[in-house]
Symmetry: C2
Subunit: 204 residues, 2 copies
């Protein structure tokens, strides 16, 4: 629902771009003060100075705004390419940890998970966001295969999902922070398993 850019959205610095920036910034600030459950279109309108009917026309719901915010925030995460597989995994894990250890990002994630249980559209969007982000960083695995660090037929998607799972399990289920130890064991677990060929797909 946020994928249909209105006229003028391609003009950087145009009115539509400014509106989007203001509303997303307002959502981000609100999530730093309060939980997702407390977020309303009226609060977004008040903080951003954008009229509530404009927000409703563009994003329809609070969930729409927050999904757009998630897409914007997570697209700023770079994909490491250090030339070393373990180091790439380590930098990616640290970036995910830093992202989720920020209170407002954690509120964002927990809020989306909650909204997904009530709204199949949010569920779809959430799944799509995770799948897209996972696909982006599979580059790390493809590079490692090319260098010969891990076996040829390694399933890149599974490697990245294995890396992410313990981190999101900690944040979303155990509801704790991602500490140094978890970063380290997650990287090593994924590294050892990938080297041992756990994610190899038999051809045919």
């Amino acid at each position: 629902m946020t994928e249909r850019p209105p006229h003028g959205s391609a003009r950087p610095g145009g009115r539509t771009a400014r509106t989007r920036a203001a509303v997303l910034a307002a959502a981000y600030e609100e999530l730093d003060r309060d939980s997702f459950a407390a977020l309303t279109l009226d609060r977004l309108a008040r903080r951003s100075g954008v009229h509530v009917s404009t927000i409703r026309r563009r994003w329809r719901t609070v969930e729409g705004v927050v999904v757009d915010l998630l897409a914007e925030r997570s697209s700023t995460l770079p994909t490491p390419d250090t030339g070393d597989f373990r180091r790439d995994l380590s930098e990616l894990t640290q970036a995910i940890a830093d992202f989720n250890n920020t209170m407002r990002n954690r509120n964002l994630m927990q809020g989306l998970i909650a909204a997904a249980a009530h709204d199949p559209r949010v569920e779809d969007i959430l799944r799509t966001a995770f799948v897209r982000r996972t696909e982006e960083v599979t580059l790390i695995v493809r590079n490692a295969v090319e260098r010969g660090d891990i076996p040829e037929a390694t399933d890149a998607w599974e490697v990245i999902a294995t890396l992410g799972a313990p981190l999101y399990y900690r944040v979303l289920i155990l509801r704790g922070a991602i500490d140094e130890r978890l970063v380290q064991t997650t990287v090593e677990t994924t590294y050892q398993a990938a080297r041992a060929g756990v994610f190899v797909r038999e051809a045919g």
Copy 2:
């Protein structure tokens, strides 16, 4: 809040035990037909034949009933003890998969995660339930250490959390079923990492 048994609850087959059984069974049936979001105390009263004020007095909220239901359902999961570490991990993973691949159990889990975002009490109870269940099955790891299958100072809790994380990531974030391939890669990932000493804690 469900931990305070009223008088008479210890009598098996007594009125209080029958009431609990009826209400939990009703909740379980409702979750097979509809999502957690649709569950109300009135619907539970109608289906169980127990008066709504009785339900409210004992569990206070729908979340209270569902947390009690989760405790009851997951306590029926056995802890494997086959004498072989990989096989124990495999049987436990299959049990978690079977549990979460049932529609009503998945509704139950997704509903609790959603409720946790809005209610700190549910968040506490959910975390406690996961921690308690994880501790129970650490027996598998302690047995493996005793047999010398994995290193002495292995952190048993981390091993079990590593096994569970990809499964709950699939169910709660990617919102898919736990398939045969995921069972296999999860078991192998955890097994290889534990054997390689990833979860060893340095003394002092």
